[in-house]
Symmetry: C2
Subunit: 229 residues, 2 copies
DNA sequence: GCGGGGAGTGTGGTCCAACCACAGTCTAGA
DNA sequence: TCTAGACTGTGGTTGGACCACACTCCCCGC
């Protein structure tokens, strides 16, 4: 077993046993190296991996924000991993979109109308009404869909949703260039968003799921998914 | 931007542009360091991250298996990331199981009866009949479910399925201790597996999905999920 | 000419010692 | 009392050194 994996194992053990919890601080790199009887290099490699996994955050300087602390950002890990494998053409964009439809329609069918995430989604919807640029609109759109996913109350589905979205963000951005008339598309998307929220509010999960699926598939169809895949 | 992120960016660019493809070899660490005008340490940190993401594999020595080559193992990345976040209690096991049911029942409903993955699943089923130990049975069970997922033909769903399974593997292993009568449970699981395959073979995707959902939920219920979560 | 063994080469794996930039804290001086 | 500088501790980066490994090549003996 390689040295940095030993460090990884130690840190994971600390996390599992609860001795290292969310917000907690890891010992300083030099101290940890001495404690585990390995070089600082190996400690740093392990930290780097956990940083990429969204488990740690390294901060320089002194004070409360400095040092290496435990965070929880599963979306980061899944997102960059998916993005890289899309880059190697090992994961087709078609499959990403299909999975997104699956997760998101499930989330819509499960969304609880009283969830605070839905209120956030409604708020975002209002912002999108008075929104000028394409880019700003898409940014709000991302947050709207994430809020929708959060409303289902499943952290794993939320994280996967976010990571799928992140993985194809660049791709989706390029797709907007294919749209014949952005303004009318934006208007349609806004209307569909309202329909989804209405379906959830009226406790019609099945209809909400169907609307979400049509919403996503319709967008990619209009933007010409498949021409580049 | 930190130095190792620059290296990450460069490698991802090479992957995206196709100049570095599956099976291709990265320049040697020392050469890459000189080429990018960074230290070997930074190159190594980037490689370490990509290794954890299942994108690279580093091999010592000479010959065809040596050096750092591009692989494609998305399951590894997603699996360890999920496992770590489960360790920090940020992702509840309940949500993992729920997501697993979602993905797997979808896969069952989409599985194509003529898929070679289904033949593999059937073969695994036969092996499980003449299987002695609990551990060996569970190992075959994992492969059976993965084959089922593959039959749906969606690489992203397959990868996520596998990673979910990996993330809670230890947890699931401990659960078997709660079972009152392993032999009868194993017999029931085998029968349910057969039912699932039969439903797929008869093009009844809806029934297959329902059977898979019952199969998984029933197992965790019997093993006492929730008592420890 | 042929076969085997040892030297050579190139790979990642590990470690060390140093230096830098940064940010908060402490202290000495105005 | 206030402020400017020194101090301390953090991660960030670098260069160099050495190791183990695995293949390759060449020389030597047969």
């Amino acid at each position: 077993m390689r040295t940095h994996q030993l460090v990884l194992q130690w840190i994971e053990g600390q996390l599992s046993s609860g001795q290292l919890a969310l917000g907690g601080r890891l010992p300083a790199e030099r101290a940890l190296a001495e404690q585990l009887q390995v070089s600082r290099t190996s400690v740093r490699e392990a930290i780097r991996v956990l940083e990429a996994m969204g488990v740690l955050r390294a901060g320089v300087g002194s004070g409360p924000d400095a040092g290496t602390v435990v965070i929880a950002d599963p979306t980061a890990a899944l997102g960059s991993a998916l993005r890289l494998h899309v880059a190697t053409s090992h994961l087709p964009v078609k499959d990403i979109v299909e999975t997104r439809v699956l997760l998101e329609s499930w989330a819509a069918s499960r969304a609880r109308p009283e969830s605070p995430a839905l209120a956030e989604a409604a708020r975002l919807l209002e912002q999108m009404d008075g929104c000028a640029g394409t880019e700003a609109f898409l940014a709000l759109d991302v947050r709207f869909h994430l809020a929708l996913a959060d409303a289902a109350g499943n952290a794993v589905v939320s994280a996967m949703m976010g990571s799928l979205r992140e993985a194809i963000q660049d791709y989706a951005g390029r797709l907007t260039g294919n749209l014949p008339d952005w303004d009318s598309t934006a208007a349609r998307l806004r209307a569909e968003h309202r329909g989804i929220l209405a379906a959830i509010a009226s406790h019609d999960g099945g209809r909400a799921a169907q609307l979400v699926a049509d919403h996503i598939e319709g967008y990619y169809r209009e933007a010409g998914l498949g021409s580049g895949a």
